[in-house]
Symmetry: C2
Subunit: 277 residues, 2 copies
């Protein structure tokens, strides 16, 4: 029950109609007796810089969940950002530090890596193919590097975006071998479709499934709970897989930790929010 | 349940700990299936002008409930204010007009007048003594004038504040006879203590109870559900009375109407919020 002691987590984006975070965080907060609430704030791009500063001038703001179309803009509005956010070129989490400065992080890739881990895949030392160097692909590549992946092959039809991501990765994670230009999954223990392809039934498949190894782990970012044709084909080959929607719920525990709130696991979140797992 | 379609009513003030509005509005909204939520926003004076503009740049903002210490400042930040707010010199309600301009009104006095009406007192043509020319006293005087009171006697130890209120009333409500300088309740059908006196047990009584007429209606703004010593003495003389907390709940129906939301009555609000009447 909201009262005068309730803390706010601003969920900022536009449009807001598809927001799911309030329906997961708020029942969780209620279940643990935490007086905080996620509030959707529909904010157009031109109003965002002022809004972000104003929201963080509130005494009872705990943090912000930032989503489209503000993730990239946010990087330039903060005082401090994490290496992951720097490589991703985007922030989806903002908090106020004790000294008043604003700090940002990016948990899209963290959600993906946590999802993989829960399914038994460890990034440490592995080789991975990441197809798609846009916002989510960059975030996943950054989180894989952070998690200790051995080598990354990046591919994007936009070669400049791909090369720029490679450069940011090499600068921030020198221990990781980063290459670009091939989308052949052969020889990779992890294969990631970080493009939107697969959302529509007649989308071409961005990866040649026939060349994915049966021991590989295959993940995607398309937000279809049942997975795309790529995942179905990978499963048929014996691969372990991760659907895009898992990434969303796996992002919440690190968000909670970032905000300094009691955290939990994805299963508990699904249960309190009455989501199917 | 808050989701991506929820509209926000910002409850802006500082400190927020004593806010009661969320605990009344939100259960009411839930009871009628309205997807809106009152959210407390703790905002210091120096951050308020920016915050107000930013909050009203949101796509899903329905309005703002403004409270201490921002009611007076608000008058200077809006594009349009009601005559009541102009006389009161304060706004406690803000909304965005269809053309994007911000409009304000003031419902402290409206709540008082509605409370009186519910107890059978009609202002039309009556004479009233209002002791206290601060924010709430000014708002009550303005609402009494708006409601058609015949004559107002204003008193405040701060004679300049009292004279200024009288001048604003005369300018905006020329049909009302406005005088200042006496706090003798004799001859008044309505007697209002619009000072904080009575909150503490050893406060002096601002009005000579012995001279209040038994047919008079006596109200106060002190937020004590059981009423102060003044009201107890007035009741002992046979007067009808209005406690300060009634004003708060009676303010909500006109607020709802101002925001363009389905309105209701004070009894329904008390019931859904499980408040004692």
């Amino acid at each position: 029950m909201i009262d005068g002691n309730t803390e706010i987590i601003a969920h900022i984006g536009y449009p807001t109609h598809t927001f799911t975070a309030p329906k997961i965080y708020n029942p969780y907060f209620e279940s643990i007796g935490l007086n905080a609430v996620v509030v959707p704030m529909g904010c157009r791009a031109e109003n965002y810089p002022h809004l972000l500063r104003s929201v963080f001038s509130l005494e009872n703001i705990r943090g912000a969940l930032v989503t489209m179309p503000h993730k990239v803009t946010t990087v330039g509005l903060l005082d401090e950002i994490s290496p992951t956010a720097r490589v991703a070129g985007a922030c989806n989490a903002v908090k106020r530090l004790p000294d008043g400065r604003l700090a940002g992080d990016m948990f899209d890739g963290t959600g993906f890596v946590r999802g993989m881990r829960r399914k038994g895949f460890e990034a440490q030392g592995a080789t991975a193919l990441v197809v798609g160097s846009g916002g989510v692909g960059s975030a996943i590549a950054a989180s894989l590097a952070q998690a200790g992946i051995g080598a990354l092959m990046l591919f994007d039809l936009n070669e400049a975006a791909c090369a720029a991501l490679a450069a940011r990765l090499r600068a921030n994670f020198p221990a990781v071998t980063v290459q670009t230009g091939s989308r052949d999954p052969a020889g990779h223990r992890l294969v990631v479709n970080a493009t939107p392809l697969g959302m529509q039934p007649d989308d071409p498949c961005p990866i040649d499934v026939e060349r994915i190894e049966s021991q590989a782990f295959v993940g995607e970012v398309v937000l279809k709970a049942e997975g795309t044709a790529l995942l179905a084909a990978a499963r048929a080959r014996g691969c372990r897989t991760l659907v895009g929607t898992d990434m969303l719920i796996e992002m919440i525990p690190p968000y909670l930790e970032f905000f300094g709130l009691p955290t939990t696991d994805a299963d508990t979140l699904r249960r309190v929010a009455r989501l199917e797992s």
